[in-house]
């Protein structure tokens, strides 16, 4: 057997891949589920916090900024480990899935709040005043005048940040979530062959490569129009 054949036999073993394909497919499903939950709840919470911040209550804002800073400074894995291994000490035992979801959602919340907030503040004050003076209420001004412009401005950085944080679903494997990496790793130790890991890597690429290309496209598109 030549070296190349041995390499293929080891990393691209068709038999092993076929055997563990259902496992990896299941893991992909879990990853997608987790990612969707993180994106929806993280972005919603981030937007909510940015809106709350625009109301301008100082004590609320100070607390809010602190929370945002906290989740920007802490590594996501540290938050996951704290929730999963730390909270049971006070008899709260979230599953690995919930721990990962909560951690990543809070990290995305913090980053997206900053981006949404920067978008909101980038709208000149004159527009607020003009809109209010035409008789629009605070809420109407926000929804019909400020947010449409702010969100447009924030889309490229938001997309890239969201992709980067969503990739963190792989961290779930540390707390035994049966997502792609977790399934692949256990398949490797069961079969004593790394082919399932190759398959898992391929699954990640299928999921995230289009997203990265999309993010790059968005960035160029927005840059030309500026």
């Amino acid at each position: 057997m030549s070296n190349w054949d041995r390499f293929v036999e080891t990393f691209f073993n068709g038999r092993m891949m076929a055997k563990y394909l259902p496992d990896i497919a299941y893991g992909t499903l879990v990853t997608v589920e987790l990612a969707a939950l993180v994106i929806v709840s993280g972005l919603a919470a981030g937007l909510a916090l940015a809106l709350l911040r625009s109301l301008g209550y100082r004590p609320v804002n100070l607390l809010l900024i602190f929370v945002v800073d906290l989740f920007r400074a802490l590594p996501p894995l540290v938050i996951i480990v704290f929730i999963y291994f730390g909270l049971p000490a006070i008899d709260v035992s979230p599953s690995g899935f919930v721990s990962t979801w909560l951690s990543l959602a809070m990290v995305l919340m913090a980053f997206s709040e900053e981006i949404f907030w920067a978008g909101i503040t980038s709208i000149p004050k004159g527009q607020w005043e003009a809109a209010r003076s035409t008789g629009l209420s605070y809420g109407q001004t926000l929804i019909s005048v400020v947010l449409p412009q702010a969100i447009r401005l924030t889309i490229p950085p938001l997309t890239n940040r969201t992709i980067a944080i969503t990739k963190g679903t792989a961290l779930g494997t540390v707390v035994a979530v049966s997502e792609i990496l977790g399934m692949a790793s256990s398949a490797v130790s069961n079969s004593y062959n790394p082919s399932p890991l190759t398959l898992g890597a391929a699954a990640y690429l299928i999921l995230f490569f289009p997203m990265v290309v999309f993010g790059r496209w968005l960035e160029t598109k927005m840059r030309w129009k500026r």
Binding site: P75, L77, A118, T169, L205
Partner: protein, 220 residues
Amino acid sequence: MLQTFLNPDIISAAWKIILAGLGNTVLLSVVVVPLGLFGGLVLALLAGVRSPWVRWPLVVWVDFFRAFPPLVLLIFLFAGLPFAGLELGGFACVCIAFFLNTGAYYGEILRAGIESVPSGQIDAARSTGLGRLQTMLYVVLPQAVRNVLPDLLSNTLEVVKLTSLGSVVAMPELLFQARQAQSLTYNPTPIVVAALIYFVMLWPLVRLLSRLENRQLARR
């Protein structure tokens, strides 16, 4: 509550273990950040080459490593390569994985920075007699770096946070040591202490970044 999450007895018992972890985290960051910057610089300079035979493989390379979760890359190197008879230690695996992953991110940032410098400046610099390399070093790069400084810092913050992945391949960095101490003492205090250390270490950078970013977006 305080007895559970910030127990003084546990702290006094475990601080040495945690401090050793902090040392390794700093060491790892000091190795990995320049490594990624270097990789990124090479990618960004190559992006200036006009030939499609260089450009397209480069785009695919960068997007490939931006699409790959760093932990997957790390596990692949750590658990996959030994099957090919290549047994690298945890430290080497972390360095290679981070070089590939963060290099791609740094590369994108630096490329945007280089593109932000008007081409007239390059022509002007060349016409004064500066060589290509000199133009790049003395005219383009200083401005490029300044233009994308917030993004560079932001990525550096992410890289330092990412070093916590080392714990998965048994690198004795801050998180790993804290987990060790936690399982020895049956108490979550070490994890809380590690989180506090990360926060205190990185908070100034987060504050600075949030100011820079706000200013940058507001200027558009």
